[in-house]
Amino acid sequence: MYQSISPYIPVLILLVLALAFGVVTLMVAWLVRPSKPYDEKLSPYECGINPLMPAKIRVPIRFFVIILLFLLFDVEAVFMYPWAAMYKKLGIWGFVEMFLFIVILLVGYIYAWAKGALEWE
């Protein structure tokens, strides 16, 4: 069982290093820095100029449609991983299956396109 988990030891080491980097940096900064709080420091950082408007605005709804399409095609891509790994053994029939799958989702893509969900103006 030690053998079975050993490929993930580097991942664990990376995780520990990443956590330690963040924690150590923050701790050192906390120990070294002088503490002079004033209001200006709490405003969002915009490269030194004064903030133009509040940061908590409502983002446009177009982002919703874009990320929605991303999510659904993301799931489509997930189904392609095992298919690609087994492609040689599945042969031509596997190709037909995936073709059908993609065609059905293409209908949705064409619908989104026709409805103007991808336009941005």
Partner: protein
């Protein structure tokens, strides 16, 4: 090796937390997150049984559950958006049009 019973108990604790979130909270986003947690708890149980039985059918079912969860999140959030457009709130108590 991890005992199967511990995996299943982990799955049910996760399910209970998700159900608590879906029942107790009034913020519709946290209710949706509770539903996602419940779906994930089912995935954990399926994967636990899959590795206990030495059979990948449970993992395939879990992939289908993830697909359904993605569709559910997409449509659910679109519904939340269109309700927010009419009611200007995300409090689930005011989503009461279907109530008698």
């Amino acid at each position: 090796m991890v005992p199967l019973s511990h995996v299943i108990i982990y799955a049910f604790l996760m399910f209970a937390i998700g159900m608590f979130g879906a029942l107790a909270r009034r913020n519709v986003f946290i209710v949706l997150m509770g539903i996602e947690l419940m779906l994930n708890a089912v995935n954990i149980a399926l994967v636990g049984f899959s590795s206990y039985l030495g059979n990948v059918a449970g993992q395939i079912m879990a992939i289908f559950i993830i697909t359904v969860a993605a569709g559910e999140a997409a449509v659910g959030l679109a519904i939340v958006l269109s309700i927010f457009r009419n009611r200007l709130t995300v409090n689930i108590d005011s989503f009461n049009l279907l109530k008698w």
